[in-house]
């Protein structure tokens, strides 16, 4: 009786174990470590040799192979992951190849050290990748699973190859878009260039798009040269590197009162305004230096007008300090001296009430609804690049809508707006745009 009961328990357990298999994976080893790939991605496995070498490809591309009439690329996964490959191997030797069928019917063969077995996997037993598996970029890892005392790293092959694939597609379309070949980075530095783009996004949430691509490409060349002479890595290692890279991106007088040259340039660009009131919108105002500069310059240019400045930022800490800004004497630019726009206080100088009252500082997310009247001037210097490309588009079209017909949009010195919609006005180091008349 007992044994029957035990048997049925054992059976139940086996059944449960079988039921827990959500998918199967093909396992293989690379330099003694165990890896797995979802079997649904695997078309077949085989032993192959004599791959046809293709010139001018990345080192990890072993060549192409004729698989029953179909030409497929062969990738050496060890080289791709920068794992050591023994030198003895020559092209004659048989290699273990896993042939993958990915999304869009993309067929790719990958070379591994040894194909092991097929293993059932339950989703609940997969553990998230841990940074300790350092040799392979963590985003290519779906998870880790333990089976019979061995740890398998499950690779996300779709991700590994779709990214490579899209990078090349991108370059292809870029190459078509630009007629001047000078602007396309040379092939051997593409991976680093793309890596830099990725890391800028991660460390500084700086998004590369048409808005700033010209600058990023120039800066990358400069950066690469400098890194070579200093003997350091071109790749950005952390937030510090990313900020260092972006240092020359920021416009003049970021985080301080605008200087006299900038003020003069702006005065030249500001149109006569017969309406009697001036509306200024200043998204991304930060600690408010830009906003006060603007309000003061507007007051100098239009002494009789009613001036209203709407300044907003998503950084609560910075924008909270903005209304009570106090300047030290040496921080005051010369065009504000003796204008009576500043008054002395116990701890320094602050703007007079009529200037302060003309500004409304708001804690606001520009991606939400922007409830502002039509503006004569919009100042958004070095703001757009810190949004994702789709959001950049959205904000730009919002600017297009919110700007009066003869209004000025002032952007950062390294930002380029689309020619079809914006007409460039440049005055020294000040970059401004007007709406292109439709």
């Amino acid at each position: 009786m007992d044994t029957v009961a035990e048997d049925s328990i054992v059976q139940e357990e086996e059944k449960a174990a079988r039921a827990r298999i959500d998918y199967k994976m093909v396992t293989f080893s690379l330099r003694g470590k165990d890896f797995g790939i979802n079997i649904m991605k695997v078309k077949e496995i085989s032993k192959e040799s004599k791959f046809t070498f293709v010139p001018n490809t990345p080192a990890y591309v072993r060549g192409v192979h004729n698989l029953r009439g179909e030409i497929i690329p062969i990738i050496d996964l060890r080289k791709m992951f920068y794992l050591p490959v023994s030198e003895k191997r020559d092209n004659e030797e048989q290699e273990e190849v896993i042939i993958l069928r990915l999304a869009n019917d993309l067929i790719i063969g990958i070379i591994v050290d040894a194909i092991d077995r097929v293993l059932g996997v339950a989703y609940e037993t997969i553990q998230p990748p841990h940074p300790i598996f350092g040799d392979i970029n963590i985003k290519y890892i779906e998870g880790i699973i333990e089976s019979n005392g061995r740890l398998y790293i499950i690779l996300d092959v779709e991700r590994i190859f779709s990214e490579e694939y899209t990078i090349y597609q991108q370059i292809d379309t870029e190459a078509k878009a630009h007629t001047e070949p000078l602007r396309i980075p040379e092939p051997e530095k593409e991976p680093t260039f793309n890596f830099v783009i990725e890391t800028l996004k991660t460390f500084s949430s700086f998004h590369v798009s048409d808005l700033n691509r010209i600058w990023v490409e120039e800066r990358f060349e400069e950066w690469e040269k400098r890194c070579k002479t200093e003997g350091r890595q071109t790749q950005l290692q952390g937030t510090e590197d990313a900020e260092e890279f972006l240092k020359s991106y920021y416009s003049p007088y970021t985080g301080m009162m605008w200087g006299s040259d900038y003020q003069e340039n702006l005065m030249k660009l500001l149109p006569e305004n017969p309406s009697g009131s001036v509306f200024i919108w200043n998204p991304g105002c930060g600690k408010g230096f830009e906003t006060y500069s603007l309000a003061a310059i507007a007051k100098i240019k239009y002494p009789q007008h009613r001036i209203k400045v709407w300044a907003n930022d998503i950084d609560l800490l910075s924008v909270s300090t903005a209304p009570n800004m106090i300047l030290a004497k040496e921080e005051i630019p010369s065009y504000l001296l003796d204008t009576g726009l500043l008054k002395e206080q116990a701890r320094g100088f602050s703007f007079i009430d009529s200037i302060r009252d003309s500004i409304v500082f708001e804690y606001h997310d520009i991606l939400h609804h922007n409830e502002y009247p039509e503006a004569d001037i919009i100042v958004a210097r070095d703001v757009l690049s810190f949004f994702e490309p789709e959001s950049q588009q959205r904000i730009l079209s919002d600017f297009q809508q919110k700007l009066k017909d003869d209004g000025l949009l002032i952007v950062g010195k390294n930002e380029t707006l689309p020619e079809e919609e914006w007409y460039l006005l440049r005055e020294g180091n000040l970059i401004a745009y007007k709406k292109e008349k439709s």
Partner: protein, 154 residues
Amino acid sequence: MRVEYINPFVEAAFSVLKEVLGTEISRGELYLKSSSQPMLGTTAIVGLTGDVEGRVLFDMSLQTALAIASTMNGEEFKSFDDLAKATISELANMITAQAVTKLHDLGFKFDLTPPALFTGENMEVLDTDVEALIVPIDMPLGKIEINVAVRERN
């Protein structure tokens, strides 16, 4: 949301809750929300008008509301009856009124509407064209989210 308005609301919520409940309270990270937001179930609303227009919501779960009402009245509430409802409305009124007093001192003129209370499940609130500032407040009795949506009259 104008930055000068933020602190009065945060401070008022803090000091009123501390005083009437006599418990530890801590403030979570402030953030902004637009589009429609789910509510926790028991919500008092106080309208603002004057230099600005908008409203303040005090949003909590039914358990939290009962616990707060019990503490404020010094008796155990089993159901959310009229007295409990009046207590929550009054709490909302006290916090908003204190915030508005602080704003008056800064030179902003606001008036309040009488508080109203909503209860129900799966409620959502949508503010057209106004983004809301969320002040999350954690207490041993539960969590209150203070949701301020005001805009300047142009």
